[in-house]
Amino acid sequence: MYLETPKKFIPLVEQAHRVAQEVFRPISRKYDLAEHEYPRELDLLASLMDGMNEGGEISAGAGKLKREDRKKDGGVRNGSNLSTVLGLAELCWGDVGLALTIPRQGLGNSAIAAVANEEQLKKFDRCWAAMAITEPASGSDSASISATAIPDGDHYVLNGEKIFVTAGDRANVVVVWASVDPSAGRAAIKSFVVEKGTPGMRLERLEHKLGIKASDTATLIFEDCRVPKENLLGSPEVQTEKGFGGVMQTFDNTRPVVAAMALGVGRASLERTRALFKKAGTDANYEGSYFNVSAVEAELYKMEADLEAARLLTVRAAWLADNGIPNSMEASMAKAKAGRVANHITLRCVHLCATMGYTETELLEKWSRDSKILDIFEGTQQIQLLVVARRLLNKSSKDLK
């Protein structure tokens, strides 16, 4: 049992931290105020990270998640899931919005990495892929999406409206979820890689949001948009439940990644708050028994304990994925815990730091706005609890609605 940061990933973590510190933090407030403005500073960073990715397992974004098989010699693997989680937590310690808009590190990239075949992997190797699932009438219930992709010759013809597409304007491809046969239910839902500029696809608008303003959130319209058949990810067959399950499996990989984002922003708030209190004379140094320390100290310890629990749950979920062990429940546990804990910590730190927390001179108020989305996207708190509860209680979605 060894629950420390793997030695081989320490350089990656340090590098990601430097990026967060030197690249993200200085421009954090700037792009919070200038919503929808493209953070040019990140182009250079993206090239740098492409280089890092080519180095093998080391990756700091969500681009290279892979489900691994169990190691044949029974040994333990620390791979791309773990390194991604560790790296991204550091980047989001810097700024969640900016981390979400690093070119070529989108969630769509994870989907491609997870289910694409060799040819597709090659074809979309250098792309920046956004993910388009949600529709105006279909949020958490992703099986009820109404976008269609009807086969027609060598193409699928896409129709529908997708909202909340992170980096939907900036990315150069979008992974779109649509049904190839609306009469066949959820089994017919497939994902398609649609390249920007494909006729019939257009940007409808960009959202104005509570937080993560550096990251653009697009509404995309597809009208008779023809997508080549080879851009379908996974199997084209409309199987029973299994087909949709395969698509949903992507989430087992990406939920720990979002959990990691929450860890980053949560730690940012907690560290800053501790520093401000230290300057003011309250040093939370784990001395003194829990019921004898000041209320502020006790609150800081409680939050740190919760954050540490969230962190280890997240690392565990990634470790399971790296070692080919099913982690659906554990991924949802991590996401549920990290999402709510980060949101709670960032909000409470505003309280604790009083006007220093609430005014724009510090980033605390920003972090408390940014964190909210982390308990919502990639499955809300409630959806995570459903996943966990169904697994624990051995219930189907029919029984436990």
């Binding site: 060894y2 420390e4 030695k7 829990y290 749950l313 815990k337 459903l386 219930k395």
Partner: protein, 438 residues
């Protein structure tokens, strides 16, 4: 004071009801009443026991367990073969012996007669005793112990305390004992009949702080003079050896090894809300005069007292995790079977989400415990990790305890189900210092 007929009448009625109760449920409860309420008759002397501690062989220097750094530098949650084996054994013991005895033991506030003996048969304490002193310990084993704490408490927290507290004393001796102290006591722990040994830290004070002890030791005679009172000491009346925390005036907190029969020691049973099979009580130290050799480590500064407290907090965190696991296992089954409004109540999100949250918080507690224990085992600093594990386990332990009862509704409030027992047990985490320690 004027005579109040109503109060008098109520008091009479109350006594009568009490008598009826005893009558109805028989001698068993009578015994309990006598043992517990009757114990208020006062302190009794901590009688000397038959066992004579003496060194069979001499050690030139204290024998310390080497750290167990198994890290290939990779994050790894898997257990070693040895850990899995011990865990398997502990789980079986917990299922077949501990859980079976849980209900009766808590009523009697005592483990069954042969309990210590059957636990000794597992040979766990041998892992605390270095090979040079007849044990089987080759290296530090905090992770294994954390797992054992979990598994034993899954059976019953009180019995886990009864079983593991003596092992804790052996751990303290292995870690901080002088060569002579190790030679005198440790071989006994590796034998067939390990001594009942206990750890006394708590004192009667609101927001008790284990770093601000009122029990005082002063340098005097050829050693120390100790005065004070310790509460919630496990295994109070059977203990043959007490490890007692006291403030050495001018130096800070230290630990003393006191054998039962030492003059000036007296004890009293003390009923607790839960973990009752731990058989808690108060230990009074009235002008206890001990030689220098009674100071653990025999030198001031030999014991890292903060680490000692951390190690006990980790053991309690383990007990919390095991008990919470028992709650989770129980409510899962109950809520899947209990039907209301025409279907199992687990089909309702209000119920199912509570269970999901129990599982999520429990896994978090467990991982914090494991991280702290694995750092301890590898010889790394683990104070922060132990502190946070303790905070999380006491907060979430209480939450899981109360939700466990809530999920069974009125049934949870009765003694027909064990959830009310776990509710009471889990409150001990935030109260206890000392007792078992890794």
């Amino acid at each position: 004071m004027s005579f109040d007929p109503i109060a008098q009448g109520l008091s009479l009625l109350n006594r009568f009801a009490g008598a009826e109760w005893v009558h109805k449920y028989g001698v068993y409860d009578t015994a309990q009443k006598v043992a517990y309420n009757g114990s208020r008759e006062g302190f009794k002397v901590a009688a000397a026991v038959a066992r004579q501690f003496k060194a069979v062989k001499k050690l030139a220097s204290p024998s310390r367990l080497p750290t167990a750094d198994r890290a290939a530098g990779l994050f790894d949650l898997s257990l070693t073969d040895e850990q899995s084996m011990v865990r398997d054994m502990a789980q079986r013991f917990s299922r077949e012996i501990v859980r079976e005895a849980a209900e009766a033991s808590e009523k009697e506030c005592k483990a069954p007669e042969d309990f210590a003996e059957s636990f000794a048969e597992l040979g766990l304490a041998q892992f605390a005793v270095p090979e040079s002193l007849g044990g089987a310990a080759a290296e530090s084993w905090e992770v294994t112990q954390a797992l054992v704490c979990e598994d034993m408490a899954h059976g019953d927290m009180g019995l886990a305390v009864a079983a593991l507290t003596p092992v804790g004393v052996a751990n303290a001796l292995a870690r901080w004992g002088s060569a002579d102290q190790q030679a005198r006591y440790l071989p006994e722990f590796a034998g067939d009949n390990p001594p009942a040994a206990t750890v006394a830290v708590n004192e009667r004070a609101p927001a008790f702080d284990p770093f601000a002890l009122k029990t005082r030791a002063t340098v005097g005679g050829d050693g120390y003079l100790i005065n004070g009172e310790k509460t919630m000491v496990p295994l109070i009346d059977g203990a043959e050896l007490f490890l007692v925390a006291a403030e050495l005036v001018g130096s800070g907190p230290v630990l003393f090894l006191l054998e039962a029969g030492t003059e000036g020691l007296s004890l009293e049973l003390e009923a607790t809300m839960g973990a009752r099979a731990g058989r808690f009580g108060t230990l009074k130290l009235d002008n206890v005069q001990v030689p220098q050799s009674a100071l653990l480590g025999e030198e001031v500064g030999a014991v890292d007292y903060k680490e000692f407290i951390d190690r006990s907090h980790l053991a309690w965190a383990g007990l919390a995790v095991g008990t919470c696991q028992a709650v989770l296992d129980y409510v899962k089954e109950y809520c899947n079977e209990r039907v209301a409004f025409g279907e199992p109540i687990s089909h309702r999100q209000a119920v199912a989400f509570m269970i999901a949250n129990i599982a999520i918080e429990l896994e978090g507690m467990r991982l914090l415990l494991w991280r702290a224990a694995s750092r301890a085992e590898a010889g790394k600093d683990f104070h922060r990790e132990a502190y946070l594990a303790h905070v999380l386990c006491l907060e979430k332990g209480m939450e899981i305890g109360t939700n466990g009862v809530q999920l069974l509704g009125g049934h949870g409030f009765t003694k027909e189900h064990p959830v009310e027992r776990w509710y009471r047990d889990l409150m001990a985490i935030g109260v206890m210092h000392g007792g078992p320690l890794l």
